[in-house]
């Protein structure tokens, strides 16, 4: 063991303290505060007076038709973008894993969308999908697939689709990098054994590759699910929730309620429900993958 006399508890605490203060004040306190605010009748204009209101905010959230619209939007966004990014990212990782030349070049280029900021990427997509934009021109005048300009950003599902395409485009690179690293750690003799057993490429993928990278799949699944529900900037920039909150997601709707209508209590209740359900979901995902291990 270590020589105890030199290891001063005061110095250990001294190293911990700055982090604990920042983390406690700016992260842990707001989480606790969020729960309390969700139980109060609280608005932007009356930040100091906060009468206790019980579950009023929660009743208001769940009794609100718009909440259910944006709830479905967030679920659909996550259900499409998470598998979309993972499948395409894994596919590209598999392609890259088999080549030597230009591997780094491809990796760098494919990762560029990840480092592009959300504000900028969203504006580029908005410009491309504009009614008089490049995509419509291409579909109508060049390919002749459509007979007029489609108003992509003006209806619920097409507007959301643009945000989802952006989400997938921007996320593939991250998946590619972590899956590539996982693929490189799969023991080569497993593949050789499978080959001797007469397994084809697909069989090898299903019975060797997928089980071997299960840990990485779980990690990506949890991270991307959180990211999917965290979608905010792209919706705000691309559709702004139009038409009439039809393309809002949980967070953009929460933000609108808080900072445009001043309903802090409502926003807090909505946020708290989100934080709680995501925490539970992460635990469930974790358990599911662990159980299959046994």
């Amino acid at each position: 063991m270590m020589i105890k006399s030199r290891v001063s508890r005061a110095q250990i605490m001294g190293l911990l303290l700055p982090g604990m203060i920042v983390f406690g004040l700016f992260t842990v306190y707001p989480i606790l505060r969020l729960f309390w605010m969700s139980l109060c009748d609280m608005s932007f204009s009356s930040m100091l007076t906060q009468p206790f209101a019980g579950l009023m905010n929660y009743r208001e959230v769940f009794g609100d038709a718009t909440f259910w619209t944006v709830f479905v939007n967030s679920i659909v966004y996550t259900l499409i973008t998470v598998p979309g990014q993972m499948v395409l990212g894994l596919f590209i990782a598999i392609l890259l894993n088999g080549i030597r030349r230009f591997s780094v070049t491809f990796r760098v280029i494919n990762y560029l969308p990840v480092v592009t900021s959300w504000v900028i990427a969203s504006l580029v997509f908005r410009y491309i999908f504009n009614t008089e934009g490049l995509l419509n021109y291409f579909l109508w005048k060049i390919l002749g697939l459509t007979s007029s300009n489609i108003r992509w950003l003006d209806t619920r599902w097409s507007g959301l689709a643009v945000a989802m395409i952006l989400g997938i485009w921007k996320g593939i690179g991250w998946n590619m990098v972590i899956f590539l690293a996982a693929l490189q750690q799969v023991p080569q003799d497993l593949y050789e054994a499978a080959e001797i057993d007469g397994c084809g490429a697909w069989k090898k993928f299903v019975s060797v590759t997928l089980p071997a990278i299960r840990g990485t799949i779980l990690f990506a699944l949890i991270e991307l699910t959180i990211g999917g529900f965290n979608v905010f900037t792209s919706i705000k920039m691309i559709t702004g929730g139009r038409p009439a909150h039809q393309t809002d997601t949980l967070l953009t709707w929460m933000y609108y309620k808080a900072f445009s209508t001043g309903k802090f209590g409502y926003a807090a209740a909505l946020s708290f429900v989100m934080a709680l359900s995501l925490g539970l979901l992460a635990i469930v995902q974790f358990r599911m993958m662990r159980n299959r291990d046994a």
């Binding site: 911990l16 983390f23 700016f26 992260t27 707001p30 900028i120 021109y137 990506a220 905010f232 933000y255």
Partner: protein
């Protein structure tokens, strides 16, 4: 043997073709952004739209306009100040926490680590309302430095988590030798733990830089003054300012904002991959 060789070559060709096709899709939006920034701003929604501008219409007038606005330099400086301060503080605070959590196990450190993991699960923006209230109480609203503590708090869980994994691998013998030599905790942290885990600190810092450089929701909520805006807010503001968006200006400014990021990314891509995979592969 020969047919097997042929099959291998065929597969390699297919791989390269698919990768090349993917690369085109990945880069198209960015190329279109650059090409739009290089055409006259008057050609608002020029019709028919062109992917590449006409050669004789190529112009740097959008860049000229942006670079002649003092506001741009102010926004740029704001972004640099906030990002650099954030990564410096996060590296210090995060590595100190990681050192203690990784090397001095106790009930307190275990509880603290669980807390850190939990906060990594909660999407940051869900806390924006209580954080706004807190910022108002502390007088941090509409102040550039007011952004920094929130950014540091944001990136600490991830930073601590990553650096802790690295600190744990520092051999116990090195530390024991230091204790025997009479070093105290503080010295061991500064002289041994920090230098030995510098690769982890570097890769975490790159991610923290990106986070702070591109952060939009929080800065957009608490900063009102033009002069205190960071780049993402300035770009978004440009976009909403007029009835008709001046896309040439928007994209010229976007390109200028992306240059530092792309340069850092290409120079440090080794650290990027290290940082990304450390969490994912071990699962």
């Amino acid at each position: 043997m020969n047919s097997r060789h042929a099959a291998r070559i065929r597969w390699a060709v297919i791989r390269y073709l698919l990768l090349a096709a993917g690369t085109v899709i990945f880069t198209l939006p960015m190329i279109y952004m650059i090409s739009t920034s290089l055409r006259p701003n008057g050609a608002l929604y020029e019709y028919p739209p062109r992917f590449f501008p006409r050669w004789e219409a190529l112009t740097l007038e959008n860049y000229d306009y942006i670079l002649h606005q003092s506001k741009f330099y102010l926004n740029f400086l704001n972004s640099v100040t906030v990002s650099v301060t954030t990564i410096a503080l996060a590296a210090l605070v995060g590595s100190a926490m990681a050192f203690v959590l990784g090397k001095f196990q106790s009930k307190l450190t275990r509880v603290l680590f669980v807390f850190i993991i939990i906060t990594m699960i909660i999407p940051g923006t869900t806390m924006i309302v209580p954080q706004f209230e807190l910022a108002t109480r502390l007088g941090m609203v509409n102040r550039l430095w007011g952004l920094i503590p929130f950014y540091v708090a944001w990136v600490i869980p991830f930073s601590t988590f990553m650096i802790k994994g690295f600190m744990e691998n520092i051999p116990g013998e090195i530390m024991e030798a230091a204790w025997i030599d009479g070093a105290d905790v503080w010295t061991v942290y500064r002289k041994i733990a920090m230098p030995l885990s510098s690769p982890a600190i570097a890769s975490v810092s790159i991610f923290n830089f990106l986070t702070a450089w591109e952060e939009y929701p929080w800065a957009n909520t608490v900063i009102n003054d033009n002069a205190k805006r960071t780049l993402p807010i300035a770009i978004a503001g440009f976009f909403g300012q007029h009835q008709f968006t001046q896309w040439g200006y928007v994209f010229a400014m976007s390109v200028l904002t992306l240059i530092p990021v792309v340069v850092i990314f290409i120079l440090c891509q080794k650290f990027f991959v290290q940082g990304l995979t450390a969490g994912g592969v071990k699962g």
